[in-house]
């Protein structure tokens, strides 16, 4: 049977050759390179990649995929060209691990630089940067000290004053999930209901858009990721928006500010494993971490990396140290909660 | 006109072999049986016509001959070569048939010359031009050779269509209602012209039409079709004068049916009197019959035995076609010379002058 169909083999061979010609498929075993599937906007990663290529000579091919990356990896299976996955939040990292699409990396260079709370215990994923989910308030309309905790946002006195992005965006989902992990389901539900009642408008836009809305007087309080402040301060047109708000790191008196990570994972069938691990090590190195801080305004995960000026001006703050996996475990519950209180509607 | 008997026997063409033979074919049209066990034979050089009301299946037969329609029984042979069998057929492009359509189906983006040359693509350039030139000449289209179809009159388009179909010298020419898009006058003229041309060139031709004038102008033989079958296959003369059944008698020409019954082998009684038969009647006495009366069987005679009142009249040049109603209430059609002029409501006297009595057993209800 196996040797029987000589013609079948010929047909298959011709088909392969034809398809290769037709699709301009990659030649097998080309130069040293790393293939990246990314959830993160390419403009955030490109400068880092360029620095790595300049240093190592390894070429990086990337594709920004906002929807369906998991299905793409799953269906490509062991032939997938992807070596590395980049995500902008914890949930997608744990999803990838749960789907069996990642493999552990055991590299001292990496694990020495990334503290345990920011990586998977088995080494399936690594946080690269951390970002604080902060509260911003209108300088001229909200007195300093009026809001100090996430819980304050459910206070009826802020009726019609708050803006956020969609309750089902991963950043919001992680915040709600951390609330569930800390306060339990019922408390979180009451909180989210209260927050929803206080919204000035239907959730829309991204975090940047919420600050813009405050600067234009549409609302007074918003929840955003901290680095958007840096991004806006570097844009001449958006500087005014950023300057119209005060930054609050919530829950300093108790559990600390909710933190999320952007991260990376090595795919299970990575064809360029060694080169990929070198890229991972580069991003976890002091140099890579410093670039993240300087270019994107994110917090480094490596201790001892100097903060940028803006971060320095905000000063140190208490971070919520709950394990990221514990937060990720509550994601499904968080999304359901958002549906139940009809947060987006 | 040839003597009918001579034509009917087919003796004139006894030497020629059949060019087209359709043997017992059946076809479906949109899942319904449209043609039932139909056979016909066309000899080389013969022009035949399938005549019938719309929906009788005549176009389906034509399409089957051309190779556009599969057959479910029987076979079709052109030049002794089977071209259609059950479950197999020669594609239309290999059959060497030419076809002319009701809408002419000229290629609107090509000039007259290019249209006529369309079927000659296998010829070398030079002889192609020659053939086309000859054909245009013969059709009187030389002056219009570089015009486009929409710049031509209906009759000219008709000629281009014919020229295009004939240019590749087909074994068999098929025409589907070729004159029905022309107006009445042009139609009669074209009918004659085309008939002459085909006869002259000895082209074998099958035409289908619902118009008996077209059929009679062109067909050496005419097959009258009804509900998917040929009910009579005969010369135009015989179809008119010796229809083989009620349907043909009714469909071809004008006329009325009288009720009657056999009184003797030579005579039939009708409400308008006893009529003699030229041939012995095959039915026994008192068999109920229908008798066909053509308008020319009813003759104006001031001394005639039948009195009738004019209910309508239609001027036809040399003659007038009257519709009459007898005292008994029987409707008659009569053709009088123009000088015997009557108004509606006038009473006239007529007699019946029947050369050849056409009778059918009374099995279908009358009109």
């Amino acid at each position: 049977m196996r040797s029987g169909c000589r013609r079948c083999r010929l047909v298959a061979l011709l088909l392969v050759v034809w398809l290769m010609g037709l699709t301009g498929s990659r030649a097998v075993g080309a130069q040293e390179e790393v293939n990246v599937y990314s959830y993160r906007n390419p403009q955030l990663l490109e400068p880092l990649f360029a620095a790595f290529t300049a240093q190592s000579g390894i070429k990086i091919n990337s594709v920004f995929i906002s929807k369906g990356m998991l299905e793409r990896l799953q269906s490509e299976a062991e032939n997938s060209p992807a070596d590395l996955i980049f995500t902008a939040d914890i949930g997608r990292l744990t999803d990838m691990k749960a789907a069996g699409l990642t493999q552990p990396v055991d590299s001292e260079a990496i694990s020495n630089n990334i503290p345990a709370q920011f990586r998977d215990p088995q080494g399936h994923w690594f946080g690269l940067t951390s970002r604080a989910r902060i509260i911003v308030t209108a300088k001229d309309r909200v007195p300093v000290g009026a809001v100090t905790r996430y819980e304050d946002l459910a206070d009826p006195k802020w009726r019609g004053a708050i803006c956020t992005r969609s309750g089902k965006h991963p950043y919001m989902t992680a915040l709600i999930a951390s609330m569930i992990a800390h306060q339990g389901h019922e408390e979180s539900r009451k909180w989210l209901m209260g927050l929803k009642r206080n919204l000035a408008r239907k959730p829309q836009g991204n975090d940047r858009a919420q600050v813009k809305a405050i600067s234009q007087g549409e609302c007074d309080i918003a929840i955003i990721n901290h680095y958007y402040m840096a991004l806006m301060l570097s844009d001449p047109e958006q500087l005014a928006w950023a300057n119209s708000v005060n930054v609050i790191f919530p829950n300093q008196s108790d559990r600390g500010t909710h933190m999320n990570v952007s991260g990376m994972a090595l795919t299970r069938h990575a064809p360029h494993r060694d080169a990929a691990v070198r890229l991972m090590a580069f991003l976890a190195s002091d140099e890579g971490q410093k670039r993240y801080v300087d270019d994107n305004g994110e917090y480094p995960v490596t201790p001892g990396i100097p903060w940028n000026d803006l971060q320095g001006s905000w000063g140190s703050f208490k971070q919520d140290t709950i394990s990221l996996t514990a937060v990720a475990d509550q994601r499904a519950a968080a999304i359901r909660l958002a549906d139940e209180v009809r947060y987006d509607h | 006109m040839d003597h009918p008997d001579q034509l009917r026997s087919g003796a004139v063409r006894s030497d020629s072999q059949p060019l087209l033979e359709v043997r017992g074919i059946s076809c479906n049209y949109e899942l319904e049986r449209a043609v039932f066990d139909l056979s016909l034979t066309v000899h080389r050089g013969e022009q035949v016509c399938l005549l019938g009301p719309s929906g009788c299946g005549k176009t389906t037969v034509l399409r089957a001959i051309a190779g556009f329609h599969p057959i479910l029984t029987g076979g079709i042979f052109i030049n002794d070569q089977q071209v259609s069998a059950v479950g197999a057929m020669v594609p239309p492009e290999s059959r060497r048939v030419g076809m002319v359509f009701q809408d002419h189906a000229l290629f609107p983006h090509l000039t007259v010359r290019q249209n006529v040359a369309a079927g000659l693509s296998r010829l070398p350039e030079g002889s192609r031009g020659e053939s086309v030139g000859e054909m245009l000449e013969r059709m009187g289209l030389s002056h219009h050779a570089d015009r486009f179809p929409h710049e031509l009159s209906g009759g000219q388009q008709q000629r281009v269509a014919l020229a295009r179909a004939l240019a590749p010298r087909p074994l068999l020419l098929l025409m589907d209602e070729p004159f029905s898009s022309l107006d009445q006058e042009l139609r009669e003229h074209m009918g004659q012209e085309v008939s002459d041309m085909l006869k002259e060139s000895g082209t074998t031709c099958v035409m289908v039409t619902h118009d008996q004038h077209d059929a009679f102008a062109l067909g050496d033989k005419v097959g009258v079709m009804s509900e998917g079958s040929i009910v009579q296959w005969d010369t135009p003369y015989n179809l008119y004068h010796q229809p083989s059944n009620h349907f043909v008698a009714d469909f071809i020409g004008n006329g009325v049916f009288l009720c009657g019954e056999v009184v003797s082998p030579q005579e039939v009684s009708t409400p308008l009197g006893i009529l003699p038969s030229d041939e012995p009647l095959i039915w026994s006495s008192q068999t109920p019959l229908e008798i066909l009366l053509r308008p020319d069987d009813v003759v104006y005679d001031p001394a005639g035995p039948i009195q009738a009142r004019v209910t309508s009249r239609a001027f036809q040049g040399a003659q007038l076609l009257y519709t009459l109603r007898t005292l008994e209430g029987i409707k008659l059609l009569a053709l009088f010379p123009s000088h015997a002029n009557f108004e509606i409501g006038d009473d006239v006297r007529v007699r019946l002058d029947v050369d050849h009595l056409v009778v059918f057993e009374h099995d279908t209800p009358l009109d």
């Binding site: 083999r9 298959a12 594709v63 929807k67 299905e71 549409e218 | 080389r44 057929m89 290999s94």
Partner: protein, 572 residues
């Protein structure tokens, strides 16, 4: 006498009986092509058989009623909007004479060039709280904050209806206009002789006759609406499409998402059915058209003329001029940041990919439509309709439907190659331009098939028979005699598909290869990060390229009365 040679004694040896299979080469090819195109839809249906856990009980208790309700409202709103705009403008420019009518005839098509999501970006920038309109209003009236006055929110269901209506009404306009044009002149004349006014004539004669065409236009617009994700996502309007993305990505239930997608197909099948029915009626109504007479028109003077002008100008200004001005202004401000060498290569990617996909789509459509003409039959009809469903499946879902079977094929082939030759062939189709092209073909085949079919229908079947009896095989007939006649229709089809490919976003995003951007993905990556300024130049380029086919369509329109001179109308 030359006639002697007319009778050929023998038939050449080429005459052979050919076995008649129920499926000839054309049918087999067409069914195969249709099946291939159906694969993604089939795999979505297959995915929907999977276990979605307790997604449904949760959904029904929470968001599903909203998804369904919003979808219905959106469809209703867009339907009414495109109907009113399209029919009114079409009637005015064909039946009335007023200043500017000739220009409006083609200007009214321009909004077709603007992707709905670009429209949404532009108007958001203009009308949102921080935008120039509200800012000036506040400055003018001294309002301090949003609480001092009411301004309808841009990012809302109403906004979605309004902006989608503005870019989709040209479908109705286009079809209604040609239906009005093809109406029998004599019937209109009779109506006027009987003393009926314009409104009466419209109500009793023009509208009923054009109704089938109008229904076709509206149902096309509604399919586009149902499929849209870019706009509703940006406006935070929760339709079924948005819902299925949420179930899939938020709740991680691909099966649940596929189930919503499959239930959406019911809507679509209904719309397709409606469209098909209407096309059939259209044939009946437009049979007796005489293209060479000019329509009797109403000359408008004074205020009716001004009103007609205003009614036609409004959709052009709102649907084209304003968004283009907004994008133009943003492009100028952000030009240095946008006009990069990469931008040019992205534009080139878009152009070549879309052109290639449009050509492939056209070829497949032509093959299928011609096979149906050669040999109808239910099998082929069902296959064609099934293949057309891709038009209405949301792009992201369709992309997953392509991803999975392509990868299965690649992996199976790879396994074979390893087994037989010890060589790995890797992924041949997945993650290549071929996969993206295939997605475009699946997505837009329906558009091309519809166009090719209606062009072919205008050719009398006797032309085919004439060509065949003149010795041409079916394929030769198509190439020599049909293609020249339907050239205009084919060009229209290829153009429309081309523009649709240029605009396509979600499938491109998921299926494209490494380091590959099109204008649409480039625009998206900025717009999704609220950087409209950087996205403006790309958007404007998409619009500019989209104008090509629109300009072409306009030219067709102005010549439409002489497009297919039928032989029988030229009697001297």
């Amino acid at each position: 006498m030359i006639m002697a040679t007319l009778v050929s004694p023998t038939v050449g040896a080429a005459v052979k009986l050919r076995r008649l299979n129920r499926l000839n080469r054309w049918t087999v090819g067409a069914v195969f092509a249709a099946l291939l195109v159906f694969i993604p839809i089939g795999s979505v249906l297959f995915l929907s058989l999977g276990d979605s856990g307790d997604v449904w009980p949760h959904l029904i208790g929470t968001a599903l009623p909203e998804y369904v309700g919003t979808t219905l409202l959106l469809l209703l709103g867009v339907g009414v909007s495109v109907f009113l705009t399209g029919v009114t403008t079409a009637w005015l420019v064909t039946m009335c004479r007023f200043p500017g009518r000739r220009i409006f005839e083609w200007l009214l098509l321009f909004p077709l060039a603007i992707p709905a999501y670009v429209m949404a970006y532009a108007y958001t920038d203009l009308l949102e709280y921080a935008g120039p309109v509200q800012s000036s209003l506040r400055a003018l009236f001294g309002w301090q904050s949003a609480r001092d006055y009411f301004f309808p929110p841009v990012r809302s269901l109403g906004g979605a209806i309004m902006f989608m209506g503005l870019v989709l009404y040209p479908y109705v306009y286009l079809l209604a206009r040609s239906a009005f044009l093809e109406q029998s002149v004599s019937v209109l004349e009779v109506s006027r002789v009987l003393g009926k006014g314009p409104w009466q004539t419209f109500k009793t004669v023009s509208f009923p006759a054009a109704r089938p065409a109008i229904v076709v236009g509206v149902s096309l617009a509604l399919m586009e609406t149902l499929n849209d994700y870019g706009t509703v996502d940006f406006f935070a309007v929760y339709t079924l499409t948005a819902g299925l993305i949420d179930v899939w990505l938020g709740m991680g239930s691909l099966a649940g998402g596929a189930q919503i997608a499959s239930s959406m197909l019911v809507f679509v099948i209904l719309l397709i059915f409606l469209e098909r029915m209407s096309r059939r009626h259209q044939k009946v109504y437009q049979q007796a058209s005489s293209r060479f007479k000019t329509l009797p028109t109403y000359s408008l003077k004074g205020w009716p003329s001004a009103l007609a002008f205003g009614l036609c100008a409004l959709p052009v200004i709102a649907g084209f001029v304003v968004p283009v001005l907004v994008l133009g202004q943003l492009s100028i401000v952000y030009f240095d940041r946008s006009w990069t060498p990469e931008f040019k290569s992205y534009a080139l990617n878009s152009l070549t990919l879309s052109a290639g996909a449009a050509l492939v789509t056209l070829l497949v459509a032509l093959f299928i439509a011609y096979a149906r003409r050669l040999r109808g039959g239910r099998v082929l009809r069902v296959a064609t309709r099934a293949a057309s469903l891709g038009y209405a499946v949301p792009g992201a879902v369709l992309a997953v439907g392509i991803l999975i079977p392509f990868a299965i094929f690649d992996n199976a082939l790879d396994a074979l190659m390893r087994d037989w030759f010890g060589v790995s062939s890797g992924l041949l189709l997945s993650g290549t331009v071929a996969a993206v092209t295939f997605a475009y073909v699946v997505r837009f085949l329906a558009v091309a098939v519809g166009q090719v079919e209606s062009s072919l229908e205008k050719i009398s079947p006797s032309v085919d028979m004439a060509a065949r009896t003149l010795g041409f095989r079916a394929g030769q007939t198509l190439i020599r005699y049909h293609l020249p006649l339907i050239r205009a229709g084919l060009l229209t089809a290829v153009m429309v598909v081309f523009v649709d490919c240029m605009k396509e976003l979600p499938a491109t995003l998921l299926l494209r290869p490494f380091n590959f951007e099109t204008l649409a993905t480039y625009v998206y990556r900025f717009a999704s990060d609220e950087m409209l300024g950087e996205a403006a130049l790309g958007s404007l380029t998409i619009v500019a390229v989209g104008l090509l086919p629109v300009a072409f369509l306009s030219r067709m329109i102005s010549r439409s009365r002489q497009l297919y001179p039928s032989p029988s109308t030229g009697d001297a």
